[in-house]
């Protein structure tokens, strides 16, 4: 039976109600789920992963391997550690991995079959007959896997907080607080991080320390906390767990903003702290480890220090008469605690020889008449879903004792997880039988039990010495103890099972149901490396990462292999220290903040005019405009395309990248960056240009405006703009620093409109009555600057549709005003807005290419018949040399052609391939040779049939020939003719009209 420790100061008297598996229980504010359940004498809280064995609460902290529960009232959060999670009124909890109920779990049949579920079992069977794996075995295996059920209806809303600090102290226990004391009122900016909601660590969790500097531990903590709070340079973060130690002293810590409170759905529930520090002090203590014995997983088996922590920290005595099993001196603390509360352990089992056991322990046991077994061990325990009898082996005799709880201490491991994450090296310490930090890789200091120092008396000297690198005063700690200062331990990892049985189990990993037998089997099969063993048996791969057991497994393995533990080595501890919420990692950068939306200055107009948008990089671009509610995309695009070729259309081209290139050597620079030659180009003219990579492949294109030899403006594709500018900068700074050129992104400085169509000139004359738009005054591919109202505009004569067209550049401030002006002038000329889809269709009719559609990183300008764009007389430009390599000069490279269906009703689909067969086999077993693919396919409203652009092997020489284009879902192919890719106005009459 459990009892209450009324001296506990950390639990409020306020009662709350929680439900566990549908039953309502009373708990106190401040309880964890585990302490609340123990308070209510609930021992069975879950089922194990593989064998579905009944499991209880094993620890009182983050190291818990068993007591994982599902929080129904928090979106079904699965796999929550009952030993950490604080309760609140109305919290709804269920157990996991059982069906139909926790008490009667069908999956427990696995326990009966367990001898065949040995290590590596999956790999050795389920292989035949054919199809059985896929259709029967695997679905069965999958269904039985996993612990909790998936969460439900959740949207994350956590935040991030950044810190730059001089010192981080991880853990505000005795060592952490004493270290923090040194920094009070100094110049150092310090962050003190504690996982619990109270400071004090071991001081509040145990009875080990009697007084510090004459004060009770409680008084000392209060005094210290107060003086830290009064010191402006130190910040305390409570309920915060450091999970990750990255390179260059970069730490990740997670703060639970609602520990013990019902989550307010409107607030951020977690804060993820990203900390950059100059020095890290790790003082997060130690973790007790267990001992493997038969049925060491039964509910009722608990680590001794955890048992004690429940008494001091949560005011619950889980059981008044437990059996204590230890191999070290620290369990005296628990013994004393129980005695002080008037409880009497059923037995005290110590594996050490009687002479090595502290006199004080022996005296208490004698005085209180507690059965005492020295040089003894627990052989195992038995019971139905809970501990009922405990078998003690002393020499050759066995005693059976009835008790419902067994407190185990197998010694302590310094908590080296974060230290190894930091890439520090650890070393085996024979005195404490564990790994402890040795060589740090970063600016990392470990203090107290984390550093392997288990002597309270030496702590003060350790702190003063290790922190002497800081300019601070010495601290003094005068500590009086309830336990021996000298830690004494006898090596014991596993006890021998009395009756050999195929079903007997001593667990080494409670979370993943790995037994010591599995370890032995794996080694006999040749998995004699610790990482192999881990992977083969899944040892220490559970959600607890084997915190209470991984050192034990190393020791057991080293014994079998007859090697030193240091030779066997540890597996690497992988971040995070404890499972870390995905929502917290993501922070606020999800959903509406996942990626910024870039909008042009005309966006509101587009919305009003029923634009449907497409994402182009971060930009929102009008894809097409719906003329009526029921108009389909196809109808809209056909209408827009036809209207433009007959009248006029306008496109918001503001998203096009614009880069200004200025300086003494701008001309030379441009000649190097682009394939084209700019030297003979006249000022105030423009040119379509292409940029290659050094591999000769087309990277980007755009129109280059030459203002003078010292001043150019280049446009780029919308999504390519940042990359083009970055590449230009790179060459300028790293290859040609002697060139005096300055680059400036001016994409956002201008709204850009592309207006084109046969009626364009008339509209432009209406909008800009003072400007002469005649062919002579304003020829194709020239541009001019004008005053417009209070601003300046630039107008360029250019077109991407093949029609007469102009591009207008204006400050975004005036963009919308001008846009609306154009529409009011264009109304009588049937001017329509059009989107990117129509733009793509019109340029395809004209045979213009689109980067990323005709090109895919494997296309050269020659492949596109764009030889005219290559400055023949230029000695060099980026990518030039690559154009003459054997593969890039092959005659049968894929080249740009046009496709026209023989049967005009056939539709040429984009992405389909050109083949020689008129029909494909139903099932293709041997690859079908193809010539190339359809890079663009549209129904042309102006030709009234489907057209295509295609990249075809040796295409230049195939004009006029007939091939076939494949079609989705059909075996019958579409007959097509290879044609010139320019379908409309090959003489450029419209363009220059």
């Amino acid at each position: 039976m459990s009892a209450i420790n009324n001296n506990c100061k950390y639990i409020s008297k306020k009662q709350v109600k929680i439900t566990f598996d549908g039953n309502t229980y009373q708990a106190y504010e401040g309880d964890t789920i585990a302490s609340a359940l123990l308070r209510n004498n609930i021992r069975l809280v879950g089922r194990s992963f593989k064998y579905h064995r009944p499991r209880g609460i094993y620890t009182c902290g983050i190291e818990e391997p068993n007591a994982l529960v599902q929080i129904i009232s928090e979106h079904n959060e699965p796999n929550t550690r009952a030993t950490i999670k604080r309760v609140y009124d109305g919290m709804e909890i269920t157990s996991q991995n059982r069906w139909p109920s926790l008490r009667y779990d069908f999956g427990a049949i696995n326990n009966i079959l367990s001898p065949i579920f040995s290590a590596g079992f999956y790999y050795k069977t389920f292989m035949g007959p054919k199809g059985f794996w896929k259709n029967l075995y695997e679905p069965l295996i999958r269904r039985s896997a996993g612990l909790g059920k998936p969460p439900k209806n959740f949207r994350s809303k956590s935040t991030h907080q950044y810190h730059n600090t001089d010192v981080v102290i991880i853990g505000a226990g005795l060592s952490g607080l004493a270290a923090a004391k040194k920094f009070i009122n100094t110049k150092y900016k310090v962050l003190l991080i504690e996982q619990d909601s109270y400071l004090g660590g071991v001081l509040k969790n145990s009875n080990k320390v009697k007084t510090i500097n004459g004060l009770t531990p409680q008084e000392w903590i209060s005094e210290t906390e107060e003086s830290i709070l009064n010191s402006k340079n130190i910040t305390i973060l409570k309920n915060t767990l450091v999970t990750t130690y990255n390179f260059t002293n970069h730490l990740i810590a997670l703060e639970d903003k609602f520990a013990g409170k019902k989550i307010d759905l409107n607030k951020s529930e977690l804060t993820l702290h990203k900390i950059r520090t100059s020095n890290t002090i790790i003082a997060n203590g130690h973790i007790e480890r267990f001992i493997s014995f038969r049925n060491n997983d039964l509910p009722g088996v608990m680590l001794a220090s955890s048992f004690e922590k429940y008494i001091h920290r949560y005011g619950v005595v889980p059981e008044k008469e437990p059996v204590i099993f230890t191999n070290n001196s620290s369990s005296l603390s628990l013994l004393k605690t129980l005695i002080n509360l008037g409880c009497k352990p059923k037995a005290y089992v110590d594996s050490r020889k009687k002479d090595n056991i502290e006199t004080e322990i022996k005296k208490i046991l004698k005085d209180k008449e507690i059965p005492f077994f020295s040089d003894a061990e627990i052989e195992g325990c038995d019971g139905n879903k809970k501990v009922e009898t405990i078998t003690i082996r002393q020499g050759k005799s066995f005693d059976k004792i009835k008790s419902s709880m067994l407190c185990v201490s197998g010694g302590y491991n310094p908590d080296i997880h974060l230290f190894t994450q930091s890439k520090g090296l650890v070393k085996w310490d024979k005195n404490i039988l564990s790994f402890k930090p040795d060589t740090p890789f970063q600016k990392t200091i470990t203090l107290g039990s984390t550093s392997g120092n288990y002597s309270f008396k030496k702590l003060c000297d350790e702190i003063n010495e290790k922190l002497s690198i800081f300019k601070t005063k010495k601290v003094s700690l005068d500590i009086n103890l309830n336990v021996p200062n000298k830690f004494s331990i006898k090596e014991l990892w596993e006890t021998k099972i009395k009756n050999k049985s195929n079903w007997a189990k001593s667990f080494i990993d409670l979370h993943n149901d790995v037994t010591t037998k599995d370890l032995k089997q794996a080694i006999t099969e040749g998995f004699d490396r610790i990482e192999h063993l881990k992977r083969y048996t899944t040892n220490s791969m559970g959600t607890d990462q084997g915190k209470i057991s991984s050192i034990n497994s190393l020791a057991i393995v080293s014994k079998i292999l007859k090697k030193e533990i240091s030779e066997v080595g540890t597996t690497t501890y992988r971040p995070p220290y404890a499972p870390l919420s995905f929502a917290a990692i993501a922070g606020r950068s999800t959903y509406e903040f996942y990626d910024p939306e870039r909008k042009t200055s005309i966006h509101s107009w587009h919305l009003k005019n029923n634009a449907v948008f497409e994402d182009v990089g971060q930009w929102k671009r009008p894809w097409y405009f719906k003329a009526s509610e029921n108009e389909t995309m196809h109808q809209a695009v056909q209408r827009e395309s036809k209207t433009l070729r007959e009248n006029a259309g306008i496109l918001d081209g503001s998203t096009l990248g614009k880069i200004e290139i200025k300086g003494r050597d701008a001309l030379e620079f441009m000649n190097l960056m682009y394939t084209n030659a700019f030297s003979k180009m006249k000022p105030m003219t423009s040119r379509y240009a292409m940029m290659l990579g050094e591999d000769g492949m087309i990277k980007d294109d755009g129109i280059i405006c030459k203002i003078s030899d010292q001043h150019f403006i280049a446009t780029t594709t919308s999504s390519g703009a940042p990359k083009v500018l970055a590449d230009m900068e790179e060459y300028l700074q790293t290859e040609w620093p002697h060139l005096q050129v300055y680059l400036n992104s001016i994409t956002e400085q201008f709204s850009t409109f592309n207006i084109s169509g046969p009626k364009t000139r008339e509209i432009m004359m209406r909008v800009f009555p003072d400007i002469d738009f005649s062919n002579d005054a304003f020829p194709f591919m020239t541009f001019k600057n004008f005053d417009y109202k209070e601003t300046k505009i630039r107008i360029m004569r250019a077109s991407f549709t093949g029609e007469l067209g102009y591009e207008i550049y204006i400050s975004p401030k005036f963009g919308l005003e001008l846009w609306e002006e154009i529409f009011s002038c264009g109304k009588e000329f049937n001017l329509i807005p059009y989107g990117t889809e129509t733009m793509h269709l019109l340029r395809a009719e004209k045979g213009y290419i689109v980067i990323g559609q005709e090109t895919d990183g494997t296309v050269t300008p020659i492949d596109l018949n764009y030889n005219w764009m290559i400055g023949k007389n230029k000695k060099d430009f980026i990518g030039k040399r690559s154009l003459s390599r054997p593969d890039t000069s092959r005659a049968d490279r894929k080249q740009l052609v046009g496709l026209s269906p023989i049967n005009k009703k056939d539709i040429i689909e984009e992405g389909q391939h050109i083949v020689e067969l008129n029909e494909l086999p139903k099932k293709i077993t041997d690859p079908i040779k193809y010539l190339g693919h359809v890079s663009s396919g549209y129904h042309s409203p102006n030709l009234n049939h489907s057209i295509g652009l295609a990249m075809i092997r040796g295409g230049k020489n195939l004009l006029g020939q007939k091939f076939f284009v494949t079609a989705t879902g059909k075996t019958k192919n579409i007959p097509v003719e290879i044609v010139n890719p320019v379908f409309i106005d090959p003489e450029n009459k419209r363009l220059t009209s």
Binding site: R276, F441, S566, E694, E729, T734, E735, R885, P886
Partner: protein, 116 residues
């Protein structure tokens, strides 16, 4: 996460920077005179040492300046940062602790945690 000291702005998180691969690879003055093999080497081949590596970084989300760094790729420690126009520091300035190609430095790298 590595901390990089931009010679123009000071120490910043690595996420503010972009890496530009091996440093001191000079674009051939006269590419046309190179054989296909040599040109291929220039375009596609870069040193990839374990240990001391001369590399380029650009402060993309900052001053946008390119600079060079010497980094130990087996530990990710940045040993030196210098401007593009500064002299390439001599290898002897840095101690390469690697004993064999696949070997690890004594601390700070790889898949081991135990002091030998």
């Amino acid at each position: 996460m590595i901390l990089i000291k931009c010679p123009y702005c000071g120490e910043r998180d690595q996420s503010e920077f972009a890496n530009g691969g091996e440093a001191h690879v000079i674009r051939p003055k006269n590419p046309e005179s190179l054989s296909d093999k040599d040109w291929g080497e220039y375009v596609f081949y870069r040193n990839n040492p374990k240990g001391i590596f001369y590399e380029r970084w650009v402060h993309t989300h900052g001053c946008k300046k390119w600079f060079n760094a010497v980094r130990n790729t087996s530990t990710d420690q940045i040993l030196k940062v210098y401007k593009v126009n500064e002299k390439r520091p001599d290898l002897s300035e840095f101690q390469n602790t690697l004993k064999s190609p696949s070997g690890e430095p004594s601390v700070g790298s790889g898949n081991f945690a135990v002091k030998k």
